[in-house]
Amino acid sequence: MKIHVRYFANIRDLLGKDSERVNIGVGATAEGVWNLIANGSKIPKDILIAVNHEYVDAKHVLKDGDELAFFPPVTGG
């Protein structure tokens, strides 16, 4: 499946990229994508994950065409 992955704030700094398209097998989870793209860095404990603009947890199973985002705890307001 094709997944559009986006990175924000210090996650973007950590990975040195702000978005990419990845190919991954059917049934992959958000964490599975992280392991594929993060060059071996463990998924940060406090990371937030969204799929198609809704919060999900790391075990969330993706569908083809999903927009997946990784970002740190939010600090707006």
């Binding site: 603009h53 939010v74 707006g76 307001g77």
Partner: protein, 152 residues
Amino acid sequence: MKIEIITEQFDPWELLVDYKKNQLQNDSKIGASSIFLGTMRDFNDEEDIKTMELEHYPGMTEKYLTKLVNDSIKKFKIIDGLVVHRVGLLKPTDPIVLVATWSEHRDNAFNATREIMESLKSEAPFWKKETTNNGFRWVKPKNQNEEIVNES
């Protein structure tokens, strides 16, 4: 309802007057307006702050704020609500966020504005990067013991 992510400095009072004139005109059912304005300080966690960059997740942020205000309209029976949030490069004293709610009685507006602000702070996808004399740092949320990630 109005949800706006704004890239330029804004005047919160002018914005409120415009909104009331165009959307809430003659609404003689309104007895209470509760307004919160967050502004940028020049000092945070024991360091002087020169500038601040505010980043958001276009699409998700707007969707989340819309949900927040819709939830408040139902839960607190408010008549209307507004959230305006600045992004981009800010300097001290710049407005960051404006939340306003309108209701018949004061309890509802007070509670709605408070809850919108608390939810926005803890869940809306915005991130702050501060510039200090030692470089820049990503701000960490206060409920995490005010830790700061230094990346000078």
